[in-house]
Symmetry: C3
Amino acid sequence: MWERATITLRPRPRGVHLVTREVVEALPALARVRVGLLHLFIRHTSASLALNENASPEVRADLEAWMSSAVPDGWPGFRHTLEGPDDMPAHVKAVIVGESLTLPVGDGRLELGTWQGVHLLEHRDDGGPRTLTATLWGEPLR
Amino acid sequence: MWERATITLRPRPRGVHLVTREVVEALPALARVRVGLLHLFIRHTSASLALNENASPEVRADLEAWMSSAVPDGWPGFRHTLEGPDDMPAHVKAVIVGESLTLPVGDGRLELGTWQGVHLLEHRDDGGPRTLTATLWGEPLR
Amino acid sequence: MWERATITLRPRPRGVHLVTREVVEALPALARVRVGLLHLFIRHTSASLALNENASPEVRADLEAWMSSAVPDGWPGFRHTLEGPDDMPAHVKAVIVGESLTLPVGDGRLELGTWQGVHLLEHRDDGGPRTLTATLWGEPLR
């Protein structure tokens, strides 16, 4: 079986946002998979998808703090500054974090570890809504 | 064909560990795939999987040295310090390295480049055993 | 359907190179996929594949500038220096950027976002030609 869906995530501020529930609720077909995989793909170059600890808001804030310290706004080596000081850092962060996740699905549900959650990393101050292409494939439950 | 297996890697100290052989030996079904893919997924947020050079222990030590310098224990920007000085850096490293690998399989074996090996990056000092979910799918050999 | 192809990218200097067209032209089977995925895998540990903004050469130059500043040639923590000052940084960059991309395919073409392009990140000064293993699978158009 193959299922494809488009998921639009509402605009969020720069930072790390837990979106597991939002993604799962948009994919009722998960319930029909015996064994398979889910591919989540963000169609942008200034935001990322990543797994991270799903419990503590502090972990999310700390991850954002480190990212924006490692790739600071207004880094003097950047020449592409036309679209604002948060644009080029967003492209760099998007490359080092990555634009997609491939996740195990089994017996009708996403099979993450206990502490793993799907996160949107919004790298821009005002990135607007973000579009995901979700692809689910595998063997169906009978 | 779809095959799913759980692989438990024994506890290892913080650092970069070559595990290609361990993974392949846990997956006898590789031998039955004509063309397909293997997805390896680590069910944790403080350890990673990555391909890296499989020959030199120095390369592994140098990778660990850079990682722990880029995301140092006790970085002053971290507030989530309750679980120890190596906890929050481990979450950051897990996000920038990644939790999964998708690898080509052909004619019954893993098709890596000559110098590529599968590595566990253990980001914690005492991370304990690590569990992988392995998913193998493709066209079987006849 | 399953298709596998080997794509050889010509030698390029250190830096970020847009290769979307080259990859698509090497994969005529894309036109036969109704819904599926394309996996691109680089068989090396000193070069990477990444999506990034496909419009501005400045973005590519800035990404290279940041990468080579974050993981500098001759970083004093590196002991593996036998293969030259650009070798160990290349391995580190390859781990943090990643060796593969999984991309949505639909209605006979690659379904990237408007600004997304496939890039080769050549981390070595003189890396030579680079070999990709491309795997395309999904449901065929009828």
